[in-house]
């Protein structure tokens, strides 16, 4: 009897759940156009700012309403692959330039060139605009950028008698000298979270003349020469000859490498510029920190840009309206507010100037924003198998090199042979 009652109860439960769930979902028929905007904003302030911009748009455009669909960064590539292949991608897609290039090559993204005013185009530095241009078409509008900067403990630098660099840029040699000078009494000059080193090495290579890739898509080729090898070798020399890099940080994430910086165990740390906000929030009281000038190599202070972007689904029923929303989202005022909320660098010159005027040099903002002018195009964005090469070949190879399991020649051949293997 008990069993029968249990079976009946289970059946009722399942039926009621199915019916309840069937009642969910919404469809829009008639009325205003509704655009879906898959947003990856993750910081509370950035989420609020995104909602504000969308709210402003919705108020001003009663006939074209935008609905935010929040999503997380983790796994979003797989989600987009499925959505695009199944024809159910959102109208407006938030992602990074490195991620959208393959979708653009496969024809899933609308050409925004006709919707991009000459003024907006001129406002975006060429190198950054190049990072969202595929086959001559602008397939996305950049919204936020980050650069790699050096955060320093001012007190430790002063105690070591170091002249703190104040110019428009500083050289990698200067960084090496400061790191050496501040390595004493069991403390290290530099902490650098290089557990996933490829992104940093590839982004910073332009300063040494390194490009890594030539060509696009399946025709991209990789060559690892002096320009590409210079930075890994410099890090290796600092870690093992100078012994000025805290060894454990080489195996940690960037965020983890902040803890020894706060504790005075390292005098400097190389981080993404957005960490300025976290340092301001998490550093112990009285911790006197500064952002050192942008790093320059023999070829200049350029870094490869991989901006966050907004693009439009080519299969959207309302491409024009979606492009207009993207244009609205990326106007000067909105970009400045969005990047302030996310502690990132606006990709347009006007928004960068607006933010500089508003924030001045507070919390290193002045130096960080200035570093934005050195961001340039990144050939790796357009190499078809870059993501696979990065994860399966380059990262383990660099880790072996930084652990001194292979020498420079071994690293070079592993990177090149690995590329040949993944791009077959």
């Amino acid at each position: 009897m008990k069993t029968r009652r249990a079976v009946v109860a289970a059946c009722l439960l399942v039926t009621s759940l199915l019916l309840a769930a069937c009642g969910g979902g919404s469809g829009d028929s008639g009325g205003p156009v509704t655009l879906t905007f898959q947003s990856l904003s993750d910081q509370p302030a950035a989420i609020a700012q995104t909602q504000k911009i969308v709210g402003d748009w919705n108020k001003a455009h009663p006939d074209v309403q935008v609905k935010i669909v929040p999503a997380g960064w983790d796994g979003v590539y797989d989600k987009l692959v499925t959505q695009f292949n199944a024809g159910s991608a959102p109208d407006i897609v938030h992602y990074e330039a490195a991620g959208i290039a393959p979708f653009a090559s496969d024809g899933y993204l609308a050409d925004l060139t006709p919707y991009l005013s000459g003024q907006k185009r001129a406002d975006i530095p060429k190198g950054v605009l190049d990072s969202v241009t595929v086959d001559g078409k602008v397939v996305a509008v950049p919204t936020e950028l980050q650069s790699y900067v050096v955060f320093a403990n001012k007190t430790q630098l002063q105690q070591a008698g170091v002249a703190i660099p104040t110019g428009a840029t500083m050289t990698w040699d200067q960084l090496r000298q400061i790191a050496k000078a501040t390595t004493k009494d069991g403390k290290y000059g530099l902490g650098w979270g290089l557990s996933s080193p490829t992104a940093a090495f590839v982004a910073l290579a332009p300063a040494f003349g390194g490009k890594y890739f030539q060509g696009t898509g399946d025709n991209a080729s990789l060559s690892v020469g002096q320009g590409e090898m210079a930075l890994p070798q410099l890090v290796n020399s600092m870690a093992y000859q100078d012994k000025s890099i805290l060894p454990v940080t080489l195996t940690q994430s960037g965020t983890k490498a902040l803890a020894p910086f706060y504790a005075g165990q390292t005098a400097m740390t190389v981080q993404g510029s957005y960490q300025a906000v976290n340092i301001e929030k998490d550093a112990p009281k009285g911790f006197d920190w500064i952002v050192l000038p942008p790093l320059a190599g023999p070829s200049g202070p350029e870094q490869a840009a991989n901006p966050q972007t907004l693009s439009v689904n080519k299969d959207s029923a309302h491409v024009k309206e979606a492009a207009q929303f993207v244009d609205f989202f990326t106007d000067t005022e909105n970009l400045a507010a969005m990047n302030e909320a996310d502690a990132l660098i606006p990709p347009t010159t006007s928004a960068r100037q607006a933010l500089t005027a508003k924030l001045g040099s507070k919390n290193g903002w002045g130096t960080i924003l200035a570093s934005g002018q050195y961001l340039t195009s990144a050939p790796y964005l357009f190499a078809g198998k870059y993501a696979q090469w990065k994860d399966t070949v380059a990262t383990p190879a660099y880790q072996r090199f930084l652990a001194q399991q292979v020498d420079a020649n071994g690293l070079k051949s592993q990177l090149e042979d690995g590329w040949k293997s993944v791009s077959k």
Binding site: T3, G25, D42, G72, W73, N85, S88, A259, K281
Partner: protein, 275 residues
């Protein structure tokens, strides 16, 4: 010597419990630490100051409770469906002899071979055609389909362990087939059903990839998807709120286990007496 043995056993047990419980303790501790303390080198089990903002943020900023409700609905429904389908199917599979059984067992094993990324696109297309993509019903069906082979595999082992002679004895006493199933087989099978339900519930509760791809609307998000929101781009992680969310996410599983654990034991007893 024997006097010392019992305290040693208890000490070993206590150490084992501490070893198992330490990650949970650390998680709870992290959930009430400030961001500064979480990013400090001087790690301590107990927080220097208790910060409850992480829980407030987890609740208010990401809609954790609504996602937890969605997860609970999907996990309970898919567990009920899996068990309802698996019990009779497992009985047939265990008692059947011949080619059909071999084919059935083969199907179970083969179905475990395909990686989920391979099946997600056709699955998505089918569900969209049925109007069940971005829908908790669709996700429930997917979870049930995904869990069913393993549930079947587990249960058919339990059925096979029940001596067929018990059923024959019941039949000899004049009991009908249904009576034999209800009074002899089901009580003995109860621990297996409970274990399968536990497995199904936890699998569905923690499932991430299908939910990530199939669910589009925030109001349908399950808990793993919402917790994933605490991990940002460029390696940014809101560690405190994530820990708070993870603590909350662990509670329903613990409650479900503590309820079913008793059933697991009583089921075994019932089987022993009847046997």
């Amino acid at each position: 010597m024997r006097l010392l043995l019992r305290p040693a056993q208890y000490a070993a047990l206590a150490l084992y419990i501490l070893f198992l419980g330490f990650p949970l303790l650390w998680l709870i501790s992290a959930s009430v630490k400030s961001s500064g303390e979480l990013n400090s080198l001087s790690a301590s089990l107990l927080p220097h100051e208790w910060h409850w903002e992480n829980y407030a943020e987890a609740f208010t900023k990401q809609g954790l409770l609504h996602s937890a409700w969605n997860s609970l609905v999907v996990a309970l429904a898919s567990t009920a469906l899996s068990v309802l389908i698996a019990v009779p199917a497992a009985y047939v599979l265990a008692r059947l002899r011949g080619k059909v059984r071999v084919a059935g067992v083969g199907w179970i094993l083969v179905s475990q071979v395909f990686p989920v990324v391979l099946i997600i696109l056709p699955l998505f297309l089918i569900l969209r055609t049925l109007g069940l993509a971005d829908n908790l019903v669709g996700l429930t069906l997917v979870h049930t389909t995904y869990m069913l082979p393993f549930a079947l595999w587990m249960l058919q082992g339990y059925v096979a362990a029940i001596p067929v002679e018990l059923e024959e004895a019941g039949a000899m006493d004049g009991a009908s087939r249904l009576t034999v199933l209800r009074t002899i087989v089901f009580p003995l099978l109860a621990p297996g059903v409970v274990a399968t339900a536990m497995f199904s519930f936890v699998s569905s509760w923690n499932e991430f990839f299908f939910a990530l791809v199939l669910l589009q609307s925030p109001e349908n998000y399950t808990l793993p998807i919402t917790l994933n929101m605490f991990v940002g781009g460029e390696g940014k992680v809101a560690l405190g709120p994530l820990a708070a969310g993870a603590v909350l996410a662990a509670i329903p599983s613990i409650v479900f286990f503590s309820i079913l654990r008793r059933k697991l034991t009583s089921g075994l007893m019932a089987g022993a007496v009847k046997g």
